[in-house]
Symmetry: none
Subunit: 138 residues, 4 copies
């Protein structure tokens, strides 16, 4: 994904957060290998929030499911996810707000959001994916 696209995703995520009067959001855009392309943490957000946003996006790319799907599976197999999180140095956060992004069926990265409820975090991410015309898996 180009940096230009990543910036547009962040801008749209924050715009939707303001519209929903969400708490301060932290947003990260990762390439398909789980490496940051761009990030932004709004004024007033706790300093670890970007790490949480990254955990949602990184875990989604690493396992191959959006983080809502991961959050549903974790309740069925808690021991597996605890072990997987330990194996992956904890970089896996199974909570809504991490969304895989695809263009014409090809994975181009992931968007991770943290700051409000998981549902609101995810809604802002989905708004941004839609604004950019990207397919998503949540």
């Amino acid at each position: 994904m180009e940096l230009r696209t990543a910036f547009a995703l962040i801008e749209a995520t924050l715009e939707e957060g303001r519209r929903r009067k969400a708490r301060p959001l932290s947003v990260v855009v990762l390439d398909p290998g789980g490496h940051q392309i761009a990030s932004a943490r709004e004024d007033g957000a706790g300093f670890a929030r970007l790490a949480l946003a990254q955990g949602k996006a990184w875990g989604s790319l690493g396992i191959g499911f959006g983080s809502r799907t991961l959050s549903e599976r974790v309740t069925k197999a808690p021991e597996f996810f605890a072990a997987a999180a330990s194996l992956l140095d904890g970089r896996l956060l199974p909570a809504p707000g991490g969304v895989l992004l695809l263009r014409d069926g090809t994975l181009i990265g992931a968007l991770g959001v943290s700051g409000d409820t998981g549902d609101t975090d995810e809604a802002c991410a989905l708004f941004a994916a839609g604004r950019l015309g990207l397919e998503h898996e949540r």
Copy 2:
């Protein structure tokens, strides 16, 4: 185990995965010391999947049981496994799909598979062990 045998195990695992229409599989073959001989990650698999496959095989060799047996024991002694995983830097993943491989009763390594359900991952591993005429402990 010879590299030639490891490649044949990977090939058979992936062949069985395709026959079962499994999700993209990641496969690793380890020597008795827990070190990779060969690995393969199918197109479309999340980038952390080889680490999960390795966690099944490494944990099996390290503790001395196949990873299905480990997954059954973890429910009886969750504290033990949490502590052991921490002690072993999380490299232990107690979920089906890690299989010890023996030849004439001698341990020659382990095969780890991740990508679909644990049951399917393990079925593909067992098919490969059988194809190569190796004894196994799951």
Copy 3:
């Protein structure tokens, strides 16, 4: 530092990089606690480049000198810096391109740049600080 300021710093850094025909740049803006406010990695930059940029800025904030000063001191006291880097989990990168940022004498964060030579990385950071009217220590 406000997110708005961090974005403006990144934009100015990248603009100066393009003017100098620098290699693709990675840029990070940290708060006084060493935590990311925003980051950007230009298309074509290696995936570890943001970590290097962060190492310049984090080390500057952590020790209290800009990373050029750190790079000069490291040649006088290599054992000290080797031990400090180890103590700090390696998060310290003593090479030009990490700049402390102040407003009316108060530390508000740091800017870290990686991608071209240390001199060019730093020149782009200094241009951005100047554009925003911020004092700096390099």
Copy 4:
């Protein structure tokens, strides 16, 4: 890069190693994010050799230069590379044998080889890139 391509690269690397009567080789193919697609360690190779091969390829992708270029730069800036290696948890190995792979100018991954001298390791990698018709940066 497809798994099929990764296997063909490994096969060609090992074939060239046998032709040159090289010591047992370890070969890894990484995607652009530095994650394994496939690996192979020849019979008789030390168990850490795959980690060395990975360090050449991972460092090349992370910094954006082939590992021969990294090995030349390390002699000019040893403190920088020592600090960068520490920052990147040591995953960076600046020695010939890590080659960036491109198709029509687009980075598709990297090939890392370890086992013989750096020059021989690299020669085997370059043979494989040529056999597959891929562009490379060493």
